[in-house]
Amino acid sequence: MSSTVATNVNRFSADLRDSTSPSRKLRDKLFLSGLWVATLIGVLTLFFLVLSTLLKGYTRLNLSLITNFPSPFPEDAGIQAAIFGSIWVVVTSGIVSLFIALGSAIYLEEFANQSSRFNRLVTLNIQTLAGVPSIVFGILGLAFVARGWLGWGFTVGTASAVLTMMVLPVMIVSAREALKAVPSSLREGSYALGATKWQAISKQVLPAAIPGVATGSILGVSRALGESAPLILLGALAYVSSNPAGFSSDYTVLPLVIMKYTQEAQDEFRAVGAAAIIVLLLLLVGLNLLAIVIRDRSRKSW
């Protein structure tokens, strides 16, 4: 590094002599305009994404969209089954993955020796899982959950299990962060009063970590709500004309019903897809607002 700094220093002192040179100013301006262009592309992407979807879908943004089931006539086609399917799958995987993530995080942060082999192995595995493309989780679900070992078929239960595995790395990482943020004085204070380890964790550390855990799991749940790739392999890309009645029901979810309508040749069906996107985006915005409210309400300084 020292050599890099040295060369930089040389260059700057050389530049100082012609600090007002037009070419240097021009390059500064070109650089800044490049940065502006990139930033604008990011902002415009969001703008056009929302605008083009609204323009396409606003004609179908009515109550029949969320009360109706699929129909051969685009003006009657609705997404009720997908909304209920999404609720079933997302709530189930949210609750299950919250329990597993919290348990893992408590063990890894509070009980295990931070440098133990087990701890490092689990951490490495979570890192690996976080980088696995989501479609691969679909393959895992296809091999062991839908068919093979568990053989649950293409059902709500299968989709929930696969999404649980998919959001688990994110949830564990955020739960660990939340536990780390609880100051150790809280634990030590409990021990000093005679509490055992578990008493300190369950009565002091966990209540203090709840806001952080809640924010993290809401973000995990929004990922599950928007995820489509693994469920393509698990039979969700279909028109389903009834709401799920249990874990062994057929299902579809919002992202997959959007995909289905997007693939239709008829423009009126694509409008249904666009309207469904708006419903999905509104749900996601609502979840994120909830996370922000929790974060702000509980901002505590120790």
Binding site: M1, T4, N8, V9, R11, R24, R27, D28, F31, L32, L35, A38, T39, G42, V43, T45, L46, F48, L49, S52, T53, F99, I100, S104, I106, Y107, L108, F111, F118, L121, L129, G131, P133, S134, V136, F137, G138, I139, A143, M165, P169, G194, T196, W198, Q199, G226, E227, S228, A229, I232, L233, P255, I258, M259, T262, R270, G273, L284, V285, N288
Partner: protein, 313 residues
């Protein structure tokens, strides 16, 4: 005197304490089992992929897989030459990275050196929203907006159809842009402020501080971020499946439809392949390739950070 004091410290009756301790041991054990589930899932992924992949290669053979340029595994007679998928994956990934890596770097420079706190306050939430948009929505955006208004307008070398690798690549790039921005910002924040201030003290302009100091001192983190962006682009399924069509063309022209490894898996999964059929095993063979490539890239990215990080102070 001392021993009396220690006995009195225990606030609970000793019988209760012994029971509590037994419960603690059980709780610790249960939590350890839960924590091991991460290992279980990774093992599950590997196990799910290995067996059908071995079966696949016993049936098809490496020669047909790696030395043929025709990919029609679900047709009769089938062809198993994987190169069209590799070319398609590479093309889409390259287009996406060309957009996301310089773009994300530029936005990160803008945020860390140029933007006023006020601009930052509006820009960062916008980028967070963009990062949270589901990929299926980007897929719709690719067909509805990017293909007709961007891909077909900017590509002058050939006719761009409704489905094209170009539209898919551009959209994947835009999807990854916020993630690349965040990772590059983190890498830049790791550069000690004294180094940057030193450059300013020597008369450097903001551009010179960016390209001469921040870029170079944070290079390992930035390259690692770029590698992660590549891995994300390779693994993206839904956008590509929707926007690049379902034909595995052996072509280097981004204006034509293409299939990537991940979009093939999604496509094959649509047509309910019977368990044990060659079509079913193809999903796993391609999935293994995808897993190995993305895993390799992620490990590589972590290596870069730990090996080449400049440690200051």
């Amino acid at each position: 005197m001392n021993s009396v004091a220690t006995e009195r410290v225990s606030l609970q009756p000793s019988g209760l304490k012994a029971r509590q301790q037994r419960i603690e041991v059980v709780i610790k054990f249960v939590l350890a089992v839960i924590a091991a589930s991460g290992v279980l899932i990774t093992t599950g992924v590997v196990l799910a992929l290995v067996r059908p992949t071995i079966d696949f290669f016993q049936l098809v053979g490496f020669k047909d897989f790696f030395l043929s340029t025709e990919w029609f595994p679900l047709y009769e007679p089938p062809d198993y030459g994987v190169w069209p998928l590799v070319i398609g994956t590479f093309t889409v990934m390259l287009i996406a990275v060309i957009i996301a890596v310089p773009g994300g770097l530029a936005v990160a420079f803008f945020l860390s050196e140029y933007a006023s706190p006020k601009v930052k306050r509006y820009l960062k939430p916008l980028l967070e929203i963009l990062a949270g948009v589901p990929t299926v929505v980007f897929g719709f955006f690719a067909l509805n907006f990017i293909a007709p208004n961007v891909a077909q307008k900017i590509w002058v070398f050939s006719e761009v159809g409704f489905y094209s690798a170009l539209a898919a690549g551009i959209t994947v790039g835009l999807m990854i842009l916020p993630m690349m921005t965040t990772l590059a910002e983190d890498a830049m924040a790791a550069v000690p402020r004294a180094l940057v201030d030193g450059a300013y003290a020597l008369g450097a302009t903001k551009r010179e501080a960016c390209t001469g100091v921040i870029l170079q001192a944070g290079l390992s983190g930035i390259i690692a971020a770029g590698v992660i962006a590549m891995s994300r682009a390779i693994g993206e399924t839904t956008i590509v499946l929707l926007a690049a069509g379902s034909t595995a063309n052996f072509s280097f022209d981004p204006g034509v439809p293409m299939q990537t490894m991940s979009s093939f898996i999604g496509f094959a999964g649509l047509g309910d392949q019977p368990t044990g059929s060659t079509g079913y095993m193809t999903i796993f063979a391609v999935g293994s390739m995808l897993f190995v490539i993305t895993f390799g890239l992620n490990v590589f990215s972590r290596r870069i950070v730990t090996r080449f990080r400049e440690v200051y102070e």
